[in-house]
């Protein structure tokens, strides 16, 4: 079994930035378009995913020595489904209005590629603490992506944030429609890639400058 050599903090950062589910891996894009039409929905979705991702990684890591590799996929599925049911019922009980809007997508967390992928490529091969850190990082990365996308979409599409009107006038209605979701995700992904390229070139410059100085 391949153990990771990264420190826990590196694992969390890895999930948040360099392997961000939405903007880097470009997986689980369905909720990033379907649920991000308001900041509130995006927030609840993100929190649910943090919970499910962390708990799934924890559980899979705990039972990793008892899983027969031949039936690992059904087992992951059952673990994920269990936690999704917990968050689904909790939201149905405590966050009724939001649940009415995004309930379907909460149930769909079962089929998220990102959660499944982390169980398969990380949790099943690593010890508990790194697995939890990895799940936490991935969940927070997803959460941040949802917040950024839904922030722009609600602000531009409704002129509001968290349901409170901020800008008056004629908002860009398209931004809260599915088409606007694609625009928002695409443009933000492009922006983060551009930022990355800028940062990388700056780092490269400073590194070469240091070499020259040395």
């Amino acid at each position: 079994m391949a153990h990771t050599h990264k420190s826990n903090w590196e694992l969390i950062k890895n999930g948040m930035f360099s392997e961000n589910t939405i903007f880097r891996m470009a997986i689980s894009l369905c909720p990033s378009i379907a649920v991000t039409n308001s900041l509130k929905n995006g927030f609840y979705m993100g929190v649910s995913v943090i919970f499910v991702q962390t708990m799934v990684n924890l559980t899979v890591s705990l039972i990793r020595n008892f899983i027969n590799p031949k039936i690992r996929i059904p087992i992951f599925m059952m673990v994920i489904a269990g936690y999704v049911s917990i968050i689904d019922m909790s939201m149905a009980a405590w966050a009724r209005p939001v649940y009415k809007q995004i309930g379907l997508y909460i149930q769909l967390i079962v089929a998220f590629a990102s959660i499944f992928a982390r169980a398969e490529v990380f949790a099943v091969k690593n010890r508990i603490v790194p697995s939890v850190c990895d799940g936490l990082g991935m969940g927070i990365g997803f959460f941040l992506a949802m917040i950024v996308i839904s922030f722009f979409r609600e602000l531009l599409g409704k002129g509001a944030l968290w349901g409170f009107p901020i800008v008056s006038g004629n908002p860009l209605l398209i931004m809260i429609l599915p088409a606007g979701g694609f625009f928002a995700v695409g443009l933000l992904m492009g922006f983060f890639n551009w930022m990355d390229a800028k940062l990388a070139s700056r780092k490269g410059e400073s590194a070469s400058a240091e070499k020259q100085a040395a």
Binding site: N170, L172, L173, I174, M175, A179, F183
Partner: protein, 339 residues
């Protein structure tokens, strides 16, 4: 003959020996010129606001292409007329009474998002002007469907708004539409000359046809797409358009109204976004016509030309791949090299 052949008649050079006079910018400016009659008619009917709206569209389109290319250190081609054409076409697709931020946003989306982000002229999947309009229609549906009455009187501009002929046809039926204009002949005449409500450039069929004739004469467009498009619309309108049953519809109203002529001659024929093989172009035109009539007769919008062309734009590469002429005598190895 090329200049080289004229100056050195005995020098043998590499082919091509005879170069055409055409270039991107020459074709683009000719298309712009061909739209001039329709533009003049729009200013005549809708007044100075038509001028402002179209002008803003063109200005934003050219400027945003220029700034984008400057900012990314690309070759600046903003004066080749294609951005100008996008702006002009978008302007002709808008109603005249809209606030000025609408044309600016639309032009920006058309040029930067639809064209430049996909790699610039020649790489865009969709017609930029139509994506610009679709964006605006979805974003500001109320403002984008407030059609000012054309008055041809500069003092009473923008006084009244009304439904387009197709809107009336959809909401109230053919009898009401004819009543609205007096009799059938008056309706046809209004549609032909453009004194009906609608987008700036789409109302005057005759001015558009004049421009289309120039393009056909110069062979910048061929008959395949526009005529198969118009033919399908006429046929479908005749068969399915009537209230009393099959084969009772009125194809003339459907042909002359809405953005059909503008779309069929100037937008569906965009070199970049239509199939390049003649047979494919026929399929493309028939598809556009079928989707247009489907939306007009059964859909939620009164007009479907824009969505029809955009939908068929996605199919253009697929059509091209399937109508490619068969290569005879090619062996497998050669084929693989060609790929």
């Amino acid at each position: 003959m090329s200049t080289e052949a004229k100056t050195h008649p005995l020098v043998v050079s590499v082919s091509p020996h005879v170069r055409g006079e055409e270039s991107i910018s020459k074709i683009m400016w000719t298309v712009n010129f061909a739209l001039l009659p329709a533009f003049i008619m729009s200013v005549y009917y809708f007044g100075p606001r038509a001028l402002y709206v179209t002008g803003l569209c063109i200005l934003t389109a050219v400027l945003s292409e220029h700034i984008y290319q400057k900012a990314l250190n690309k070759k600046v081609t903003s004066n080749d007329g294609s951005a100008f054409l996008t702006g002009l076409l978008l302007g002709m697709n808008l109603p005249s009474g809209i606030p000025f931020y609408i044309p600016v946003t639309g032009s920006f989306v058309a040029v930067v998002i639809t064209k430049m982000l996909f790699g610039g002229l020649g790489y865009n999947i969709f017609n930029p002007a139509l994506i610009g309009r679709a964006f605006l229609l979805i974003t500001w549906p109320k403002l984008m469907t407030k059609w000012p009455m054309p008055t041809a009187n500069f003092l009473e501009m923008d006084a009244k708004t009304t439904a387009t002929p197709l809107g009336l046809l959809k909401e109230e039926g053919l009898a009401k539409l004819i009543e609205h204009f007096g009799d059938k002949a008056a309706l046809y005449k209004s549609l032909l000359f453009g004194s009906t409500a609608g987008s700036l450039g789409e109302t005057s069929a005759i001015a558009l046809l004049l421009g289309a004739a120039i393009l056909l004469y110069k062979r910048y467009i061929t008959w395949h797409i526009p005529f198969s498009f118009l033919g399908t619309v006429a046929l479908a309108a005749w068969i399915f358009g009537g209230k009393e049953g099959l084969f009772t519809g009125d194809p003339v109203i459907h042909l002359l109204s809405g953005g059909l002529i503008l779309g069929a001659f100037f937008m569906a024929t965009d070199y970049v976004t239509c199939p390049t093989i003649r047979k494919g172009q026929l399929i493309f035109g028939v598809g556009c016509g079928a989707i247009t009539m489907l939306i007009r007769l059964k859909g939620g919008f009164p007009e479907g030309v824009m969505f029809a062309i955009l939908l068929m734009n996605c199919f253009a590469p697929l059509i091209d791949r399937n109508v490619r002429p068969k290569q005879f005598g090619a062996v497998k190895a050669v084929k693989e090299v060609k790929k």
